[in-house]
């Protein structure tokens, strides 16, 4: 049983990682980051159930809290960038460089 959940977790994480790497739309990239976080959560919960203690579940809660906070800040940035540049492409927002 555990293996199935872990395979699912790995699949979700990979989809998320590939999405971050190849998609230009900031909203999509952002959602992919969330997908990776939730893949991790799934792995944590799975191990918690397998070992029969609550450590993994507690970590999963922490991750959710951090993810929620990240969403607040991240979406605000994306909205602001969209308002000023009329574009949500992360490749266009490349002014901060050498």
């Amino acid at each position: 049983m555990t293996t199935h959940y872990l395979v699912l977790s790995v699949l979700l994480f990979t989809i998320g990682a590939v999405g971050v790497l190849i998609r230009r739309n900031a909203i999509v990239a952002f959602m992919c980051v969330e997908l990776m976080l939730n893949a991790c959560n799934l792995a944590f919960v799975t191990f918690a159930r397998q070992h029969g203690n609550l450590d993994g579940q507690i970590i999963a809660f922490f991750v959710m809290v951090v993810a929620a906070a990240e969403v607040v800040v991240g979406l605000a940035i994306i909205v602001t960038i969209f308002r000023t540049r009329r574009s949500a492409s992360i490749d266009d927002a490349n002014l901060l460089k050498y």
């Binding site: 990682a17 971050v20 790497l21 190849i22 230009r24 990239a29 992360i90 490749d91 927002a93 490349n94 002014l95 901060l96 460089k97 050498y98």
Partner: protein, 632 residues
């Protein structure tokens, strides 16, 4: 040498003798810190503080006269200066009190004279502050009961001398002269410092009492080294060969400074050092012999330089060098010479200060002209200056029965006694003195008037002439008083010891008569060349010898080629090494790091997705590493 015990816990005026140092020091502090507020009365405070020190010195002297010979060395403890090493205290004995009287007495007269001389100078207050500082430092130098205290005073007078030579610092020549004096003195001070270090390591003390008690027991080589190092210090401060070059340039300072510091007091500090350290020099006969050689060489060199100078102050400075050479010679002769060295020092303090102040009075009258070729015939317009200067002149050439006659004759006689060669060289020096001082006298006060068209010479005010009169009285009588009946020798005996048999006064000995004859010949030549004959307004080219003397015997050229040029090359090599090797290494390293960073920063391209990729790579590598570690 047999000296009296040092007695602790002095009372009365001697117990309060620290006031001599404290009063002028306080004056200097008030004038320097008080700033412009003290402009109105600053000079009066300066004079008052100097006179106050003089009063304390006189009271201490009177108290000392009331004591037995065996009780005339009194120690005044002040404070623990360096715990376990130096207890600061004063040693009031006949030697130091003689100096204290000269410094405060002549010093006060010159303070008074300066009121008039500096009356038009906007910086008169600063001048008096420095003069007071000088008096305080000089008194510390002679009154301290240990070498460290002497050294502090030694540096203090060096500082005051520097500040006063460069008093008119807007003149580049004065600023340069001040620096030159300071740097040349530094060479001597370096020797003195090493000498004091050696004294400390050899005897385990720097206080005079303990050191001199065991001075004779130390190793001969060490004693000779200490003696030569102290002599190096003395040469620097007293402008003796080979450190003589600064004194002539020091005449850039105001004339009262030349009179007080560079004629009467500071430049005699070297003589004081040698006489005070007599116990060391007597135990190291080589060092003592070198002292006499230095003295004779300088007395001849100074006299020769004095012959060719047209600047009245420089001619007098050459003469100062020469007279201090006499004192050094006497100080190197041992107990038989000490009293004559000090006697000549005291009388020289009077007649040379007298002549310098007279020269200042002449300059004051002639719009600060110093070239004697522009003087002439001044006798009739400034009689007081001319007569007092004339008395100083007669005293220095050794005119019978005046001060210089007794003291210089004493030195020549005792030199004859120890080493006839030195004695006859000193006689020759006296003859040259007769020539160059007569030259100064005739060129300035007699002969045709060669004044600049806008010169209107007049007699100086009373505040300037009264010190001249007092000093000239000293120039007349002091020598006879000190020498006849060996008065000074017996007075100084508790401090410096006395020779086995007291010298008598022989007015008609062969050296004495030869000296008088040579002086007469010198004066006659001077009269023929500069009194009766016309003195050209522009200095003639002169012979090789004249040029030699005019250029200060090529002393500056020698220093330049021996020390300055190699020093310059050394700095140039150091600068080259610094620029090429050190800077090259550092700059190369910086350029390397800078270049690498310039290339590396291209990685920051602003594309978020490329950052994400590198993060992924990084994470993959961490995971890989963990897995690899797990398999071990």
């Amino acid at each position: 040498m047999e000296t009296a015990e040092i007695i602790q816990g002095a009372g009365g005026a001697i117990g309060a003798s620290w006031l001599m140092i404290a009063l002028p020091l306080l004056g200097a502090a008030i004038l320097l810190l008080g700033g412009r507020r003290t402009n109105g009365w600053g000079h009066l405070l300066g004079v008052a503080m100097s006179l106050g020190a003089f009063v304390v010195a006189v009271l201490s002297f009177v108290q000392m006269l009331g004591l037995d010979d065996s009780r005339r060395r009194q120690a005044v403890e002040l404070f623990d200066f360096i715990p376990g090493m130096v207890k600061m205290g004063l040693l009031i004995d006949p030697l130091s009190i003689s100096f204290a009287l000269l410094i405060t007495g002549v010093g006060s007269l010159i303070h008074i004279y300066s009121i008039g001389y500096m009356s038009h100078d906007p910086d008169r207050r600063r001048f008096f502050a420095y003069l007071n500082l000088f008096v305080a430092a000089m008194l510390l130098l002679v009154l301290a009961d240990n070498y460290v205290g002497l050294y502090i005073g030694w540096e203090g007078v060096g500082l005051a001398s520097y500040l006063l030579i460069g008093f008119w610092q807007h003149k580049p020549s004065a600023a340069t002269a001040a620096k030159k004096a300071f740097i040349v003195n530094r060479v001597g001070d370096f020797g003195l410092a090493i000498g004091i270090f050696t004294i400390w390591t050899t005897f385990g003390s720097v206080a005079y009492g303990p050191v001199f008690e065991v001075a004779g027991e130390a190793d001969q080589g060490v004693l000779t080294a200490i003696g030569l190092l102290l002599l190096l210090g003395a040469c620097g401060k007293s402008a003796q060969l080979p450190l003589q070059s600064w004194l002539l340039d020091a005449m850039e300072g105001p004339t009262p400074v030349s009179a007080l510091i560079h004629a009467a007091t500071m430049v005699t500090a070297g003589v004081y050092l040698v006489v005070r350290s007599g116990a060391i020099f007597e135990a190291a006969s080589t060092a003592q012999f070198v002292v006499t050689i230095v003295g004779v060489a300088t007395l001849l060199a100074g006299a020769i330089i004095g012959c060719a100078k047209d600047d009245i102050k420089k001619a007098l400075a050459g003469s100062t060098m020469s007279q201090i050479g006499y004192m050094m010679l006497a100080a190197g002769l041992g107990p038989v010479g000490y009293a004559f060295a000090i006697a000549h020092l005291i009388t020289h303090g009077f007649f040379k200060a007298n002549m310098f102040l007279g020269a200042g009075s002449v300059m004051h009258a002639m719009n600060d002209e110093v070239d004697m070729r522009k003087y002439g015939g001044l006798f009739s317009v400034m009689k007081v200056t001319a007569i007092t200067f004339g008395i100083g002149y007669l005293a220095i050439i050794g005119f019978p029965l005046l001060s210089g006659y007794f003291t210089k004759d004493g030195i020549i006689e005792s030199a004859m006694h120890v080493n006839p060669v030195l004695g006859w060289l000193a006689v020759a020096g006296a003859g040259i003195t007769g020539f160059y001082m007569s030259r100064v006298m005739f060129m300035t006060f007699f002969g045709k008037r060669r004044w600049a068209p806008d010169a209107h010479p007049h007699e100086s005010p009373a505040v300037m002439t009264i010190p001249l009169v007092i000093l000239s009285i000293g120039s007349v009588f002091l020598g006879a008083y000190l020498i006849l009946g060996n008065r000074l020798m017996l007075f100084l005996a508790p401090a410096v010891g006395r020779p086995a048999d007291l010298p008598g006064f022989h007015p008609f000995s062969a050296p004495g008569l030869t000296t008088l004859a040579l002086v007469a010949v010198g004066a006659a030549i001077a009269w023929a060349k500069y009194g009766r004959a016309e003195v050209p307004q522009v200095a003639p080219r002169g012979s090789f010898l004249t040029t030699f003397a005019r250029r200060d015997l090529y002393g500056d050229a020698l220093n330049e080629s021996l020390f300055m040029r190699p020093g310059q090359w050394l700095t140039r090599i150091a600068v080259f090494f610094d620029n090429r090797a050190v800077d090259g290494l550092v700059n190369g390293l910086a350029a390397g790091i800078g270049g690498t960073s310039g290339r590396m920063r291209r990685l920051q391209n602003g594309f978020v997705r490329s950052y994400a990729l590198s993060i992924l790579f990084g994470a993959a590598m961490v995971v890989g590493a963990l897995l690899y570690v797990g398999t071990l």
